[in-house]
Symmetry: C2
Subunit: 366 residues, 2 copies
Amino acid sequence: MGKPAKKPRKGLTYADAGVNFATHDKLVTEIFRRVRSTYGPRVIEVDDGFGGLFSLENDRGLFSRNYRNPVLVACTDGVGTKLKLAFAMGKHDTVGIDCVAMSVNDMLCMGAEPLFFLDYIATGRKDLDVLLPLVGGVVEGCKQAGCALLGGETAEMPGFYPPGEYDIAGFGIGVVERKRVLKGEGIKPGDVILGLESSGLHSNGFSLVRKILARKKWKLTQHMAEFGQTLGEQLLTPTQIYARPVASALQVYNKPGAVAGIANITGGGFIDNIPRVLPPTCEAVIDTAAWTPPPVFSMLQKAGKVDAREMYQVFNMGIGMVMVTPPRHVDAIADRLEKFSHKGLPRVKTHVIGRIRTGQRQVVLQ
Amino acid sequence: MGKPAKKPRKGLTYADAGVNFATHDKLVTEIFRRVRSTYGPRVIEVDDGFGGLFSLENDRGLFSRNYRNPVLVACTDGVGTKLKLAFAMGKHDTVGIDCVAMSVNDMLCMGAEPLFFLDYIATGRKDLDVLLPLVGGVVEGCKQAGCALLGGETAEMPGFYPPGEYDIAGFGIGVVERKRVLKGEGIKPGDVILGLESSGLHSNGFSLVRKILARKKWKLTQHMAEFGQTLGEQLLTPTQIYARPVASALQVYNKPGAVAGIANITGGGFIDNIPRVLPPTCEAVIDTAAWTPPPVFSMLQKAGKVDAREMYQVFNMGIGMVMVTPPRHVDAIADRLEKFSHKGLPRVKTHVIGRIRTGQRQVVLQ
């Protein structure tokens, strides 16, 4: 083997092939400072380690005091074609929040407390002006969810993505006591369905949104009086992360059955997601007059001439998460959710939007 | 709200926008059968749950008997531009193995035992002929690694990926006893570097490979006498998963220090990865004559006129993983690794490829 190569070199190098390690290193340093701000005492830091370390702290008793029989809950999701709007607007600081929200809101449905999160970003060429706000959004999402950003991969894949474009996926791990795993088994006729307001479209239905926009030739930059912002800003509103308020509600009402089931209203809307927690002999009756969906939904429905039921199978219609509970608990739970506040986290509003009755594991819209 | 819509509908539906739920459902059913074959007794099955559940079994004592103070190790990675070769060859059944390997081999470097894995696949349109072999590869990788495929997301993102193309990323969770976390701190001058043979290029350096192929106008379909297979088949050889043999070696030699450090030779090759486990006062001297890299490396070097040192910074050069150990343990560890066998898993060959000496946290090629 010879000495380290001298420049200029005639042969191909990895940099020639589009992979830039200097930018990579700068990115890692810049990002690391922000990422570190999400660490709690359970994160074990390793310089340049091959993996992220998260202690379950059995010896210190902190974890084993709360969890006699801990079950890990793992979720993964991406942001979908909402990313195309971020590309079009050159606004990359919120889709990271969406990415965290998609996984974390799913794990809440199992009754879990988020522990940590990892992100995977793939891009054609590492561009700090894109990647720094992008990862900044992931950091913000982890703060809103109260979990550590334990690791991530930023893959440079020349020829895979056009300049300034990327895909992002997230992976969240939470924990729940085995006896408290929420599976909806305790849901019974007479239970009440409490809806937690969404912050807008969240991260689903964007393929249809983009189709409608294209058909109407609407511009993302146009100001919309009903939103008080541009169309693009409205559509890009980050997904509400329900982890902290829901944990707060579950903490107080943690007798098994006080909260009988939670469903994240994600791809498939009310129609597909609520049945995921219903026992085979129950159906959910939703009173669609119980709340007013934000104007973005009626605007899209009208513009796309979308069938009303289809709307509830694609979009969240203003309700991002539902909790099923016996009537005697609903006021207290709603109160707990609405009163919960945390720095930087939008407050959650709730509505009683329906009830459970004997039926066939389906959603009935009234 | 009206009744369910009758066909034909004039308005836009989600299917019009390129998202096909029927295909999705069929895919989920088909895949689930295979995925289930990776489950061990710690996986808690939930029908259509919002997350995957993995019990830490504190109550049954199985886990707490082995782990007094368990630390979770989390890794994420993709397959990079090796995917472009899979697309070009229409061969999708092995890159899933690569995807598992990338995360699992990383966590071994921390001394961890893999517990479970999740995959994220993004594609333009769900095509069962592509997705079934793709996920089949992930299942095979999880079996080779001895971990459960606990969940996954297959995102249909119309307009993001050309037909038949996709990106895939993986997330792996492992566990290690806190005292046994491998950080390389115990590495000292005089220690021996044991190299574990790779199965080929593994999943790094493919941007450069593709550049070389393009420059030489080589076809993936051409038969190469030195490989006894086509060029494309050789390049697509899946990454060796070292989890089971390495766990076997660590199990026997689990006194702290018997194995002082493990490095996965991934992006950045020997030059960047070995220093990640070196103490600041040690350097690694690699005797490049100690083994013969498979012909694919010399072929690429010659064709791309790639500088010799650059080769060791881009490729694994036939050594996919290195273990650092005091000389007195090396024969026994090598023996354990080479004798380990498991159904369907290629045997691992080893070479003593270098030693540790006082120096500056770098790799010296001799």
